[in-house]
Symmetry: D2
């Protein structure tokens, strides 16, 4: 193997740049040439492929977003689109590809691997919802972004003795809501993995008030319902006038945390090693605090397990 | 004068605690006793008045929100409510009051002053919309909170080559939108003080694209319209699929910046000096980089002037 | 068991407050009374013991430092000092103790346990140097504090095309230097676990320059040598005028990160469970991404293993 | 005038990039061509001059440091060096120059202006020590960096009930120490403009302790003495074991604050306007909250006035 490519795909996540840097430098360290593919699978089809040197990935480890950009590409779901991609890579002399992204990105990588073009997947998504890895790149940064927001909102919630609802990302996975809720000292957390009980929630609000609590913070993952819907529900049941804050896209950006940069560096480097050995269809992950690689199909056939002990703990600690 | 009070009222703003600290310590420095009134004018009516010592305001200069809490108080708009407040203050031996807050808070302070109870107003609101002062406590912190959010969103906007709309606070005053838009490098800023021109906005978007710009950020003050409405408008005119981020309540919280702490310290201290001289109905401000005090009626009879030269500059620099 | 105590000891670490909160609330959740012991072992001897209620640990999860304060206590190394502590605890009805701190704090806890008073240790130290746990409370926050500093210094290093030496904490353990160096993109990292080679370091500097690198950042753990000494060494060998930054005590403070808050919550809660079962002489830790408890003697008899694969990786990625 | 240049010189300051962006874009807005001169006056002599387009200064408004880099240049103090610079500029078709920097940078600009080549100075230095302007670019960011450090150190100071000395930048001007000390709630501030009185300082320490204060923070500007020297002095007088933190180079870096970005944008834009009118030897500043331009000799012949009322206030508020 002489030359490999790297692309980022799907929603961007802080730390993607650190992963790209690791792929490029580890590749060059092993004597490979490394090319960046710009704009995800769309750029692959369009042949937006450029060789990257050591210096090209300098001064990016600390940057949010992705220098390689990202884009949706419906065409790449088709075998024709995939073939175009392979042709482009062959034209540029690539013999392997590292794909940094989430679920959808992995499907593209799997398809290419099945066509005989070896791809390795690196989990980059703030949602932490890739099966087979305990953590994904970007989750830690997003967690801290949410916590900073909670800390800010708590200032105003306390000052005005109000109940706030904070809507965070997480369509299918409650990890962000759960970790942030526990770390932010939220009184109530609503996640897709657990049926919410509006009565129970209100009992908790009352209890808090009874012991002199001046404010209350409720975290809701977007996958359960929107913050606005929840506010209506609570209003209808209790007449309580809650305030809603939808954190939105700030959760995707920002300078990556130390942990996300280290994770991204480890993952990117391992991806190159796996690819160098000729393996395709592998995914990189962190399992029990060890960097691992595993069959990418596992990422589709199993499902991500949110640590629900945190849910129980959060309830016990916010009484 | 032997004893004075201090309260915070209206929406909380970062730096209010630093102002409270300054009032208490400057008062004690001058041999006065200082009492904190909790929960704004409502707490005044209810007699939630407690003497504050040097140590009671220790370790709060860096805290967001307000230790004295705040609350709405419709009753205080009535002369009866105001009389109740005066009685409570007399009961606790208070001879003067410092009110930290915005527009509405000043009206209460003015009413009390007219009833013969000397009050001094300190401008505490993130909106920067109090006539007679160039800056209010909390504006600088909110500005930086917005900018951090813009910086984060720019990461993801660039990565995905998208147009983002960011809705910020400012019902009547465009200061936050304007300063943040200029400092955040936004392509377009919509403020209540300037008629927006949707055509002009779209021309700017096109120009940017023509010269290779990958993303675009539009800042809209809530007083113009909501981010969602603007997205619909742009969508209807152009078919462009913009993303909306409503920053909401995070803008009110957070550790105050250095400048807000200094401003709050200067304002709180000056308020005590003015009160000590027996004057009521005065407001504190920063005018041409000097701390000033002025007749509080000026805050009602004139109107805040947003520096529109920043609007022009922003347009010139984001071509 | 009806009543337990909690103290923090040794150097403070961000997240200690979150751990105290978890101990108190988990204890109360299980029907226990919980007392805080102020000023570490010294306060224990002096009987500075106060019952803590749910509200007493409200609004502290996000605060750096420790609400229970900490102090050195040479007297507690003696059996007499330890007996005084036990008497105080018996006087206050305590039947178990959670000790949050580092190495030295564990020794005190072990001694008490051997005297028949059950203690459980929770690892709280930014150095990450407690054997038996992969991570300690405070490490993640300190890591991010260092990285922010590196990011700032890189700005000025790049602008002036200079070589900077950054001295970080870590007398015996290189974890902070290593993680921060990798995450900060440092060209060279000096840790106590690896013999440094000044020649090799200079070769790397030269290589970087040869490929157009404008600046260079060297991270040195204080346990290797001081930043000043290293600057002299480099100056003597090469004549290069490096700049030194000693990060110092800012590394101990600050709002804890999400991860440190979650870790602290998990650890504090587990400590209560272990204590409730009557066990003493146990230490809490995170091992392979699982919360564990283990014989505290392991913390003395084995030694912390820094993950040296990060060292190798860092070298490969900063070529 | 058809083409102008811009350079940054001296110590870098956050916001310099925003100023460069403003010069380039305002220049282009007015139909001028704008060239960046890399590496300060040294780069001017060496002819490191490149035309900058709108996009070349995109995505830099939020970056610390200076994209144009900076360097010392002893040769430029000589008339020969200056002539070389003028020749280079003429060769590249430049007819005017904006110099962003401090004191020393202004001297170079003045010399060029006297040789008939019009230069305008923009104050960029964290020290806030340029006569004729109330604020310099970078001061606000450095202020906030210091305050964050103080907040962190206060956590550990309180936890351990210790006295900390924090050494900040400021050789001749005490602005940073003064503003940061006031905003950080420091008990004592030592600045070059005020004779310190070690006895008075100790009395304050004692007073604080007497009223139950657990910790104390002393800010010292490097121009008074080093933190280490002060610690020795206090130790010798009192036996108190203080801790020292030298903030060092982190003060120069970091993402610029909102205010620094706005200031830089205003200054850069005004510099272009002044230059366009053909004027040389002018300096840009903020005076009484208005952007002004003034004869650059004023920056040499008068001296910067630190607002010493803040010093008095700080003493009154930290009793």
């Amino acid at each position: 193997m002489k030359k490999i490519g790297v692309l980022t795909s799907g929603g961007d996540a802080p730390g993607m740049n650190a992963a790209v840097r690791a792929v490029v430098r580890k590749g060059i360290f092993h004597g490979l040439e490394v090319a960046g593919i710009f704009n995800g699978y769309q750029g692959l089809i369009d042949g937006r492929i450029e060789s990257l040197d050591l210096g090209d990935v300098g001064d990016i480890i600390q940057r949010g977003g992705t220098k390689l950009h990202s884009a949706r590409c419906p065409e790449f779901i088709t075998p024709e689109g995939q073939q175009k991609g392979i042709e482009q890579m062959k034209k540029h002399g690539l013999e392997g590809l590292v794909v940094i992204g989430g679920d959808g990105s992995y499907r593209g990588a799997m398809a290419l691997s099945k066509h005989g073009f070896p791809c390795v997947g690196v989990p980059g998504t703030i949602d932490n919802d890739i099966p087979g890895t305990d953590f994904t790149i970007g989750f830690d940064t997003a967690l801290n972004t949410i916590i900073e927001a909670i800390d800010k909102i708590r200032d105003t919630a306390t000052s005005h003795e109000r109940t706030f609802i904070i809507e965070v990302m997480g369509r299918d996975a409650g990890d962000l809501a759960l970790w942030a809720g526990l770390a932010g000292g939220a009184e109530t957390i609503l996640i897709p993995e657990e049926k919410y009980n509006i009565k129970d929630m209100l009992v908790r609000l009352d209890k808090g008030k009874a012991r002199g609590k001046k404010h209350s913070i409720i975290i809701v993952a977007e996958g359960v319902m929107s913050g606005g819907e929840l506010a209506k529900l609570i209003g209808a049941e209790t007449g309580i006038d809650t305030r809603v804050s939808v954190l939105g896209h700030i959760q995707r950006g920002g300078t990556p945390t130390g942990r996300d940069r280290v994770l991204a560096s480890l993952f990117g480097a391992r991806a190159v090693e796996v690819l160098k050995e000729g393996a395709g269809g592998r995914a990189i992950g962190m399992k029990n605090n060890q960097v691992v690689d595993y069959d990418m199909t596992e990422a589709f056939n199993s499902s991500h397990k949110t640590d629900l002990s945190l849910f129980t703990l959060s309830k016990e600690l916010s009484i």
